[in-house]
Every structure is written in C-alpha cells, then in structure tokens.
C-alpha cells in the first residue's frame, strides 16, 4: 500500500521550451569542471595542481573540515585550469578529457558488506557528495545514521525533465543496486516519491523502496516538501536524500567498480531551437549542446531550472546536481509604463494581469526584475506556494534578525532554498528570499556545531 499525498498549494510556471522526448547520443565533450560552488557551505582544499594527469575518480579537492569527503574528476585527462574568484575562492577545476581510463574501485555486493564499507567506497570514489541531508541542505555527514532516506523521482520545476522518460532509457539494474545500497545506510525507511499526476514508469513503480505518490503543482516534486509530509525533520534528527539519477551512479559504482557520474539531462528554455534530452556526465561543458542550438540575442544560460539553477556562461559547465539546462532571454531593457499595462504576455501568480484570462498559454519569460526591491508589504502570498506547515514570512524575518530560537521553532531544519524559490518568484517586493534562506542555514550550521 503506497502513501498518497495530494498538495494544493504551489504554482506551475508555464514556460515555452519543454524538452521533446528524444534522447540524443552522447556528444563528444572535451572540457569538464568540478565546481566547489555547487556545494553550499563547503570550504574546498585543492589536491594537486594544473597540469596533473587524472583518471575518472581521481580526487581534485576535498572538504577542509572533513578530509574524507573528496570530489573527484568525472573523466580522465589533464587539469588545465583552476579558476579562483574573490579572496582566492576556488570556483572551478577544469579538466581536459583524453582517453577513457578510470580508477577501479572494485566490485562489491552492497547487501553483503558493512554500512561503513559502503560509505568508504562512496567517499573514495567521489560519489559521496550526491548524498545530502536535512537539516541545512548540505552534503551529508558520513558519521550520521539518518532516520530515513528519500529519493524524489520526479521534478515539478518549470520545464523540468520527465523522469519517466529518463528511467525508460536508463539501467534498471544499476538503479535497483543503488537503492539497495542506500537502504543499508539507514535504520529507517527508504522512500521513493513518484508523480501522482501521471502513471509512473515501470522501473520506478517496481523499485525496491517504499513508494510514495505526490500530486500537486510545484514544489510537490521537491524532496523537502515530501520529507515534511512523510517523516518531518525534528530538532536533532537527520534525513538524507539523493537525486534519482545519482542512485544509478551509486549502483554502477558497486556493479562495475567505476565512478561514472553520468545522467540524462533536458535541454530546455524558450531560446533553445531543439529542446531535447542528452546523455552527459556531471561537470560537462555545455558548449556542444548549445552550439547552433540557441536563438541569437543576449541570453541567460542556467544550469538547473529557472527558479533554483545557477547562472553559467555560454561556455560554462553543468552543475554537480543538475539534470537540466535552461536558456532564456536576458531582460535588460526598459519597459515604458510596464507596471500599468494590461499585460497579456506577462505570466503572473497574481490576478492583476490580463494574461490570467488564458490559463493554458505558455510564456517566454526573461530575467528582468520587473520592479525594485522593497520592504515586505503584501502578506499571505508566500503561504500559497509553500505546501508545508510553515510561516514563510515569519521565518524569513527570524533569519534576518538572526533569532536562532525562532528560526528553529519556525522550521528552519525542514527547508532549503529551493523550497522557498517560488516565494522569491512571486514576491511583489522583489526580496532575495533564497539568499536569505541560505544565510539562515549557514548561520545554523555554524551555531549548532
């Protein structure tokens, strides 16, 4: 008997540029990068230097506070660049691919070895960071034993890839092994959430985990929302979660002994000429995908979706956790009396634009702010897009006031930036809500440890 949860709150943003269900063969990509900025709260320590020869699975840098957690090269080749930002902050380690060699981490049966051995294997191979935790939405602490592990096998974000399609084209065996591996790491349950609005792919429906069905608008697919409704994180408790395609990578590590962090991603957005699916490795340069495939103009390239993704350059790299690339127009233009116009072409959560009369229309939205930053004015709006028993505005104010007790009481342990991304989108005061949430989480990490 599977658990079914129906959610009403939220918002599906209807964008143009949904990926067509066509899977392209792997493209030849020369450059790859691992970006420490993909891991919030991480203080990276570089291993090796420019010019080093690496194999797939060779460590590039590790967590300064937890040296066991290493981040490894996705391919074999040569380290060609180490990019640093302000105050010598490590931004990316770039590798130029040559050959297809990899470190052999050894085959193992996850059901036959100890949990500690499983962890060690994941840590060594560089696959450990795929396991993240609530509270704080950071790479999981390998010394903990979580009360449950969650995998959300669907994504409701704008233009998100269809996981049914992805799993129809992925290895069933690796996925099952990956799930069995994860099951060994918790004393509680392993949950797999599928989209209650569609029929789940066979691979997912028959997965060796407790299947939960969530239906509702975005953010129903966010793992944080699912945790909140199934097994919420209380103070002192820890829950882990893994992206579904990373489960496949874990399975491959145990079945083949190699670190191959590969996934199928959706190339999406209104400015993509042929939005389709591609099979690429994590950290891969996006240039081969965008070449001759985007419309002219000033464009924003995003690794991830439009709500939570990170801005990358046209010759940038896919993020460690992302299964989607979105390309939308930049919004650096002035609009005459824009705030007064009827707004037929403007998608909005609010009912003040004429576009509300066309509930099925799809929009090409750009990166314009549509206003200036103000204090909190409207109330009762954020609540409509956060399907959790949480008061978003009160929590945000507690974070701004750095009131630790209040943050704790109002549920900071249960949320991540992505759960409040829609608040940021709909905010009429244009407040940088995800930045505030991250600040709050970082503050909690410092205070509680």
């Amino acid at each position: 008997m599977s658990i079914s949860v129906k959610l009403k709150k939220g918002l599906d943003i209807r964008l143009k540029g949904q990926a067509e269900k066509i899977l392209n063969p792997e493209l030849h990509t020369l450059r790859y990068a691992v970006k420490p900025i993909d891991f919030p709260g991480l203080t990276p320590k570089l291993i090796g230097r420019v010019g080093d020869k690496v194999l797939a699975g060779s460590p590039l840098f590790h967590d300064k506070l937890r040296p066991e957690v290493v981040f490894t090269s996705p391919v074999s080749g040569i380290v060609t660049a180490v990019t640093r930002g302000d105050r010598r902050k490590l931004l990316e380690v770039v590798i130029e691919k040559s050959g297809d060699e990899f470190i052999d981490f050894g085959i193992a049966d996850p059901t036959a070895i100890k949990a500690d051995e499983i962890k060690e294997k994941l840590l060594k191979s560089g696959l450990w960071p795929v396991v993240r935790q609530r509270p704080y939405h950071i790479v999981a602490r390998h010394t903990d034993t979580p009360k449950a592990i969650f995998v959300s096998a669907f994504d409701t974000a704008p233009l998100a890839p269809d996981y049914n399609f992805i799993f129809d084209n992925s290895s069933d065996s690796f996925f099952k092994t990956g799930l069995k591996t994860l099951k060994r790491l918790t004393e509680g349950s392993l949950y797999l959430a599928v989209d209650g609005r569609k029929e789940a792919s066979e691979v997912l429906a028959n997965a060796p985990a407790k299947i939960t069905r969530f239906s509702g608008p975005h953010p129903a697919g966010n793992v944080g929302v699912q945790i909140h409704h199934i097994d919420p994180v209380n103070k002192g408790e820890v829950v882990w979660y893994v992206n579904p395609q990373d489960v496949i990578a874990i399975g491959r590590l145990f079945e083949e002994g190699r670190y191959l962090h590969e996934r199928i991603i959706a190339m999406t957005g209104s400015e993509v000429i042929k939005p389709q699916y591609y099979r690429i490795r994590s950290g891969s340069a996006i240039h081969p995908l965008t070449k001759d495939n985007v419309r002219p103009g000033n464009l924003r390239y995003i690794s991830g979706n439009v709500l939570t993704g990170s801005k990358i350059e046209a010759d940038g790299f896919l993020g460690y956790y992302d299964s989607q690339i979105t390309v939308i127009p930049e919004g650096d233009y002035f609009e005459f009396f824009g705030w007064m116009m009827p707004g037929l072409d403007k998608f909005s959560f609010y009912k003040t634009f004429a576009s509300k009369l066309f509930p099925k229309k799809e929009y090409s939205l750009d990166t314009n702010f549509h206003g200036g930053e103000r204090a909190f004015v409207l109330t009762g709006q954020y609540e409509k897009v956060v399907p959790m028993d949480i008061y978003p505005m009160q929590l945000l104010k507690a974070i701004l006031a750095e009131d630790i007790d209040m943050m704790e009481n109002l549920g900071i342990y249960e949320i991540a930036e992505e759960d409040f991304a829609l608040c940021e989108y709909i905010c009429s005061s244009k407040i940088e809500i995800q930045t505030i949430v991250r600040k709050g989480l970082d503050l909690m990490v410092r205070e509680m440890n």
Partner: protein, 391 residues
Amino acid sequence: MNSLRKKIDKIKPHFMEGGKFSRLRSVFEGFESFLFVPDKVTFKGSHIRDSIDLKRTMIVVIIALVPAFLFGAYNTGFQHFRSIGIESGLFQNFWFGFLKILPLVIVSYGVGLGIEFIAAQIRGHEINEGFLVSGLLIPMIMPIDVPLWMLALATAFAVILGKEIFGGTGMNIFNPALLARAFLFFSYPAWMSGDKVWIEGLVTGGNVIDGFSGATPLGLLTQGEISRIPSFLEMFIGNIPGSFGETSTLAILIGALILIATGIGSWKIIVSTFFGGLIMGLLLNAFAVNEYMAIPAYYHFAMGGFAFGAVFMATDPVSGSQTETGKWIYGFLIGVLSILIRVLNPAYPEGVMLAILLMNVFAPLIDYYVVQSSIKRRLKRAKIAIKNQVK
C-alpha cells in the same frame, strides 16, 4: 517612447553617484521607474521574477478607489446644491465636487510624497509606492471643507510619525491614512465632527436654506432623531452627508469586488469585518434598551465609514494581521468594535477609525498567537519522535 528614453539616458549620469544632482538620486529614480520599468536583471536566486511589483499592486487599489471617488465628487456637489436649494444636474454636481476635492488631493500628495522623497533620499533607498494609495485615501476620509493647512499638517504627521520613523512603507504600525484622520479628529474636533462640516459651505453659512441640517445619519442617531435618518437604500447608494469617499456603500462594494477579484485585498478581512459588524449589530438588537440599539443591524453597513474602513483601511497588509487565521480574527474584532463604539459610546458617533487603529495595535499580538500554534505543533511532533525513539 524611444526619444523619451534617450532624453532620460542623457540626463541620468547627472543624478548618479558623482553627478551634479546626486543628492536627488532617489527622486530621479522614482520618476524614472514610474515611466519605465527598470532594466535590472536577476543575478542570484530565481532567474525569473513575477511581473508584479508594488506599483502594480498600488495601482490596483487606486482603481478600486475610483468608483467611490467619482461618487464622492458627485455627492459633494449634490449635497451642496441641495443645501442652498438649487436644482442641479449630474454633471454639474460632479464637476463642483471634483473642483472641491482636487486641492485636497494635490495637497495630500504634495506633502506626503515630498516627505517620502526626502526620507528615501536620506536612507539612500528607492522611493516606495505606499503613499500612492495613502495620498488618495487621506482626502477621501476627510470632510470636504477641511482647511488645506490642516490637511497638510495631518498628512505630515501621519507620514513622519506614523511611517518614516518606523522605517518607511512596510514597517509602520498604524494605517497612515487613518492616523492623519485621527490626528485632526482629536486636534481640531470642530472641523471633524458635528452637523456642519460634511457639506460644502455649511460652515460659513452662506445661502443655506432655512432649517436645513447637514447632519450625517450617525449624527442623527446619536442625537436620538431616529425618525429623520434616510432610508436604507438611500444610504446604500450614498446620497447622504459624510466624508468625501465614505458615503456610497455601493461604490465601495464595487471597489471591494476589484480588490477581491485581483487578490490584492484580503477577502478574509473584508468578509470578517462585515460579519463582526453584523454579529455586534444583532447582539445590540437582542439587548436593545433604546431606539438606536434597535435599528436593523444591516443599517450599520450603509452608514458612516464602516464599509470604507472594512474595504480600504482594514485590508492594509502592513498594519493589519499578517497570518491567514489572524486575518479572520482581526477583521471580526474590527467589525465588533466599530459598532460597539458607534452605538454605545456617546462621545464618538463613529467608531470605525478608532476600531481599526486599535486593532492595528493588536494585530501583531494576534499573529503571535497564530504563529505560536504552529510552533507548538512542531514541538509536539518532536516530543512524539523522542518518545518513539526511547521505546
């Protein structure tokens, strides 16, 4: 619009840091963003943002105020010509009233926006749109004959002491427009109450016909002259003396529909305020010991500023309750207190203004208890989890 844009781009550097007029930067940005939605793009967080902003929000409230404003202008003329016994047409009434209200609107916006501009400049912020609505609300809740200097003083008081010292729009505790009214109500009561201030020209005497009374229905009720109050329909449509924008319940309800349909005004507050008023009215009916307490409860909706307060004042998101459960309680108590003060307190013929200001003070307390209940649920959940672990 390109030529206009070019001109703005040309003068823009003078207002930026290091320019000749950099001290007027906020003012410049205020006007620029009024004409053009800026070209600012997202750089962190969500890459796309909703098309709404505070300007859009405020313009919706202003549109919602238009029916009450138009009727107010018409009624001002209608009452004036009636008081001097002259027959007048629809347009003549409207034009008379419009010319009377115009200076009030100009003074209110001039003083209020002036202070907002200065405050924004001092803080180095962009100019906030909050006063766009307050600036229109203030003249609409005043008697038409209020002297301009008084209006200016009240507006300055409300904006400076009611809003800016708390940090500007979004930070205020009290509804600024009501604060302006309360300021005049207590400082210059002769200009804010009685039988003469509600109709243009009555204060100075003029050609008023003999025996004409400019008393509002509430004034009549307080004086015990129940038999002289107009019919419900007349009061509902609004051909009665009163503050400029408050008389027509019909026009205000059209505004309420706009606010509710767009979701900008909280329907919960509007509905619960009316509900609270109705309950209090019925309670008074049940225990009626005088004629005033016995008037039908729904009469209260059409008299005085009840409807205007419920629709445009109580719904102010900043000074009102901020939680959804809280909004029900907040609105309900405003309704109850309004009618309670109105009927039982002989000193104040109208209670809406004071009820809303009082509930502005209590709104954070209501929210506190609503949020506490969520906190308690979370703590309880944690305790159960610990118990299960021990087992």
